[in-house]
Amino acid sequence: MRFGLALLALLAALLAALQVGAADYGLQDVLKDETARTVMLEIRLPRLIVAALAGAALSAAGVLSQGLFRNPLASPSILGTEAGASLAAAFAFHAGLAFAAWWTLPLAAFGGALASTAVLFALARRGERNRPTPLATLLLAGFALNALLGAGTSLLLSLLLEDFQRSSAALHWLLGGFAGKGAEHIPTIALPAVLGFALAVRLAPRLDALSLGEDVAQSLAVDLASMRRATFGAVALLVGGAAAVSGAVPFVGLVVPHLTRSMAGPRHGTLLVLSTVNGATLMLLCDLVARTIRSPRELEVGVITALLGAPFFLALLLRKDRP
């Protein structure tokens, strides 16, 4: 029932997104007009698929992060994954690699995401002799890592400013968006997203047990170390895949699981599946706004998600603090 509703919403969002765009074509024109066919099938549809997959991946990563940190206001970005992707991308722009072929930038972003997550994981495992690193330490380490990676990105950007074209390209990327994404980007996101999702599904029951506390979960035969490892890995795959095709799109990973929890309940299995569907829906809608609000110009979708997400986050915080 809930799943049916979510799927229905996704379908509606997909149809709306297919129907409206910068070029004045809709589904009804596909059979009539060759240009319409090209625009719809080669430009609009692949982009929508990429956007939906990225939204789904970010949301699944959000479910994992909130479960791992036992905090409904956690976002996958606290693992430094997005910041790592951004730094690697900024480096690719700086070194000119980004301009060599279509796949260099996605590859760099994906690699950066994996590397930064691995660094945080290594930090998290230090001093794990007697008991796992406390979550609070992990959070602070993530915060510090984020700051460091962000500083690196800023440094590269400031060096890039002298080069107008590259810095403008880098800024576009850092703002996060799906402009010009095509069929070749579908496997770029689909592969890590499917892998990450498969891992996440296996992790879901253990995340339920973890909600009782790390100690209790451990006493229930949950292997915390291997679970953390798998969760970090899945988040890196999901967020890295999304960053590879869209740059940094903020707040989706935070907002979608949170919203979905109120319709699906807290159990991570259901939550994961429904958040994945809802994430795709939300991203399609945000991208629809980004594509059409200033048509034929485009806004970066990251701007839209932040504009929607930040006030939502504030509202959540305030509601949570109310007695």
Partner: protein, 287 residues
């Protein structure tokens, strides 16, 4: 005389220690002083003058010791008697210089060829090299006349897209539209800028879907590659690859330092675009 801000700038004597804070003024001042052998009057040029990607005066700039970055201290240490800046220099930079008793002349517009000629005239007056400024503008005007003559001979207005890099094939599809100097070049060369016809202004980043629906005769961009390399890039780029006219459209690649110049050096870009349009529409008319 009035500068681009409408402020009155009075100089008692011809300035002898000028610092130039923009590539536009670097290029104009170096051209003026070179013809009269007075480059010593320039105490500093902007650091962009040394960058061969954007500067047409790399060699001439070597004769000037000082560099005007954003570092005000180094600029002031040169004890300038005049600072020539552009409207896009940071306002606080201009403010600090004036508080330090340095006279500032701020150049106004850079978006039409007339404005560039007016900047040359103004700097000629300021440095009391009116004759050299006149000569520089005469060469500039000649190139514009040649482009105009070419435009008149065109049997129809070719449809042109001016294109500023595509952000790593990631689809940041940035076009030149009304209000940009690039657009002015296309218009003066006799082309119809499709981006401006869409009602766009400035340097808009457009949807790939829009590009797919356009059918330009000519694509102009900045860079150092060959026209064929550009065609290859576009054939793999989002939006462009769906464009039906891409295979037969004429590709014109102009070095960035010419296309992006905000000085009379931009005339080279105008000439290249003009000649390209003539070849596209009326092959054989141009050499």
């Amino acid at each position: 005389m009035l500068d681009g801000r409408g402020r009155k700038v009075v100089l008692e004597a011809p300035p002898q220690r000028i610092v130039s804070g923009s590539l536009a003024s670097d290029e104009i001042l170096l051209a003026l002083f070179a013809s009269s052998g007075q480059s010593g009057r320039l105490a500093a040029v902007s650091s962009l003058a040394d960058d061969p990607r954007y500067s047409n005066v790399v060699a001439a700039a070597k004769t000037v010791k000082g560099r005007f970055g954003e570092g005000l201290e180094t600029a002031l240490a040169l004890k300038p008697d005049l600072a020539v800046l552009a409207s896009f220099n940071k306002p606080e930079t201009i403010d600090r210089l004036e508080k330090a008793q340095v006279r500032c002349f701020v150049l106004g517009g850079f978006t039409t060829l007339d404005e560039i000629a007016a900047n040359v005239t103004a700097l000629g007056e300021l440095t009391q090299l009116k004759k050299d400024a006149g000569a520089l503008n005469a060469v500039f005007a000649k190139a514009r006349m040649a482009a105009w003559a070419g435009a008149v001979r065109l049997p129809r207005r070719p449809k042109v897209l001016g294109y500023l890099g595509d952000a790593a094939g990631n689809g940041a599809l940035t076009l030149a539209a009304r209000g940009s100097l690039f657009d002015a070049l296309i218009e003066e060369a006799g082309g119809e800028n499709l981006a401006s016809s869409l009602g766009l202004t400035g340097w808009p980043t457009v949807s790939a879907e829009v590009l797919a629906g356009l059918a330009p005769d000519v694509v102009v961009t900045g860079g150092d590659g060959t026209p064929e390399a550009l065609r290859q890039t576009l054939q793999n780029a989002p939006g462009w690859k769906a464009m039906k006219s891409l295979a037969r459209a004429k590709m014109i690649v102009v070095p960035d330092r010419e296309l992006g110049a905000t000085s009379p050096y931009v005339a080279s870009a105008l000439t290249k675009i003009s000649q390209g349009l003539a070849q596209e529409i009326a092959p054989g008319l141009s050499p």
